[in-house]
């Protein structure tokens, strides 16, 4: 058993910034090109290793490339250079409730969403009660989700995602869902995952959450890795770099 859950080696990712984008055949033919663009480097040569069983935080200012890195980790984007290797099943929670069909009932959506996240029908069946209970929408489980309140919607989505039970969980700023009670439940669930030796990688702007939950932190700035290390010292360094914002 290796001690590394995810290794990121020299990953770079460039996006095209379009000044003019023609997605019609007419303009492609008339002007002989489909777009005018320049390259924007969102990630520059990032290398890091996420140890097994750690809760790994990615911090940095807006636009520092955190979410891009997360999407690369989740196999949604593919890096232009470098390599990302996973050791274990990975599940990503980048947005809650994507893939819900609004006309279908909560029950049907649990099975649908579960399979989108990579669970088999049997796994969903085994976890079904737990998911429903955790979300707290028992009463409405056979109602179409379009009738759900936005709180119920995200709670159900979160419950499904957290019960996928992956070895590596990738989370993007989604902890701020539901009321205080539900948030408590979420944090509890994350602690359970940690205890079970699962790896969690998360992005957050709330430094108190990061220091409370994370064991390791990587600080990204303008697409480059600024510092990696234990949570507290790295967060301090990051906060010190922000002028006049001690949080």
């Amino acid at each position: 058993m290796k001690n590394i859950a995810v290794s990121v080696e020299h990953v770079s990712k460039t996006f095209r910034m379009y000044h003019e984008r023609n997605q019609t055949i007419k303009s492609a033919i008339m002007r002989g090109r489909t777009s005018v663009h320049e390259e924007f480097q969102a990630l520059k040569d990032v290398s890091l290793e996420v140890p097994v069983g750690s809760t790994y935080g990615l911090i940095g200012r807006n636009g520092s490339g955190k979410s891009t890195l997360l999407k690369c980790l989740a196999n949604i984007y593919y890096p232009n250079q470098g390599r990302i290797t996973h050791y274990g099943r990975i599940a990503a929670m980048l947005e809650i409730g994507s893939g819900f069909h609004s006309e279908l009932s909560g029950r049907e959506n649990i099975f649908l969403n579960g399979s989108i996240l990579g669970m088999t029908k049997k796994q969903v069946q085994a976890k079904f009660d737990e998911i429903v209970e955790f979300s707290g929408v028992e009463q409405f489980i056979d109602q179409p989700v379009k009738n759900y309140s936005s709180g119920m919607y995200v709670r159900l989505g979160f419950s499904i995602a957290i019960n996928v039970d992956p070895e590596i969980l990738v989370v993007d700023e989604v902890l701020a869902v539901g009321d205080a009670e539900f948030q408590d439940k979420c944090f509890g669930k994350f602690r359970d995952l940690k205890k079970a030796g699962k790896t969690v990688i998360l992005v957050s702007h709330s430094m108190s959450t990061v220091t409370e939950m994370c064991t390791d932190v990587a600080w990204l700035d303008k697409g480059q890795l600024k510092a990696v290390g234990k949570a507290e010292p790295t967060v301090k360094k990051y906060l010190a770099s922000i002028p006049g914002d001690p949080e």
Binding site: F15, Q23, T24, I25, K26, A28, T34, K71, A74, N75, I76, Y77, Y78, A92, L94, E95, S98, G99, H101, E103, L104, E108, F111, L112, S115, I116, L117, G118, T120, K121, P144
Partner: protein
């Protein structure tokens, strides 16, 4: 091969997405699934009225079945065609419509377009069931030919899937594809012997002879349309009640496998870029 394994591994997702399409579609309608039959039946009535009663199109009597019912003859060609055109119309937009999902969750992307084929195919099965019932009512002995019908259906499904896989990628780059295909499908339908018999084309072709001084005839060009062969095969199996011509079979198998393979290759080449391009 690894790709095939990946698709097989996501068969449950494929089934669930297909069910999502099927169940979600007719929610909150009174007639539900019945609506999927309404469209082909309406087309059948219109075409039968215009082409059989007014234009007096007279297809040959089924050989050896002896059938002579225009509406049933029409359906044998029309139902496979509407399947193809529905798959293309609905499948084209599936990546764009599910952009949100593609940008947020990782899964084998190809299941999205394939689930459209599944959902449309499910409706098609109903339609073909009604057609078989109609054939029985007008006195055809179709039962022995049903397994062969399923083979032909599977081949057409492969062909439709392959074509749609390419088109839905094209639609991600150029949103015109959708509008262009509406026109192309219209023309394509009239270039296929659905509302008129193939024999009429042969007759015209023979009277014109070689085109532009060559030995290439109209029929030769006409035969380049893969749907000509599919429609012929369906008619020969169901309406005529016989083993289809070997050449027609070969055309169908060739087009189906070739198009599907090409579609998968094109899709694979582009699927990793989808999240960024959408």
């Amino acid at each position: 091969m690894r790709y095939v394994k990946e698709i097989i591994a996501s068969r449950e997702l494929l089934a669930n997405l297909t069910m999502r399409e099927i169940r979600g579609k007719y929610k909150r309608t009174v007639f539900g699934q019945m609506w999927s039959l309404a469209n082909p039946l309406a087309l059948m009535l219109i075409y039968t009225f215009v082409f059989s009663l007014i234009f007096r199109v007279k297809p040959a009597v089924g050989d050896p079945s002896g059938l002579d019912v225009f509406a049933v003859w029409l359906l044998c060609g029309l139902l496979p065609w509407t399947f193809l055109s529905t798959v293309i119309n609905q499948g084209l937009v599936t990546l764009v419509d599910n952009a949100n999902l593609i940008q947020k969750v990782y899964f084998t992307r190809i299941v999205l377009p394939l689930s459209v084929v599944g959902a449309v195919g499910y409706n098609w099965l109903f339609e073909m069931g009604v057609l078989v019932a109609a054939l029985v009512v007008v006195g055809a002995f179709v039962w022995p030919w049903i397994p062969l019908m399923f083979v032909a259906m599977a081949l057409l499904a492969l062909f439709a899937a392959g074509l749609m896989l390419m088109l839905c990628i094209a639609n991600v780059y150029f949103r015109d594809t959708k509008y262009l295909m509406t026109i192309v499908l219209q023309m394509w339908m009239y270039l296929t012997p659905i509302i008129y018999p193939f024999s009429l084309v042969e007759k015209q072709s023979a009277s014109v002879g070689g085109l532009l001084g060559t030995s290439v005839t109209i029929v030769d060009v006409y035969n380049l349309n893969p749907m000509v062969h599919f429609v012929q095969v369906f008619r020969q199996i169901l309406y005529d009640g016989r083993w289809p011509d070997g050449v027609e079979w070969l055309w169908c198998v060739g087009w189906a496998l070739g198009t599907f393979a090409l579609g998968v290759v094109v899709f694979r080449k582009n699927e990793k870029k989808l999240a960024e391009i959408l």
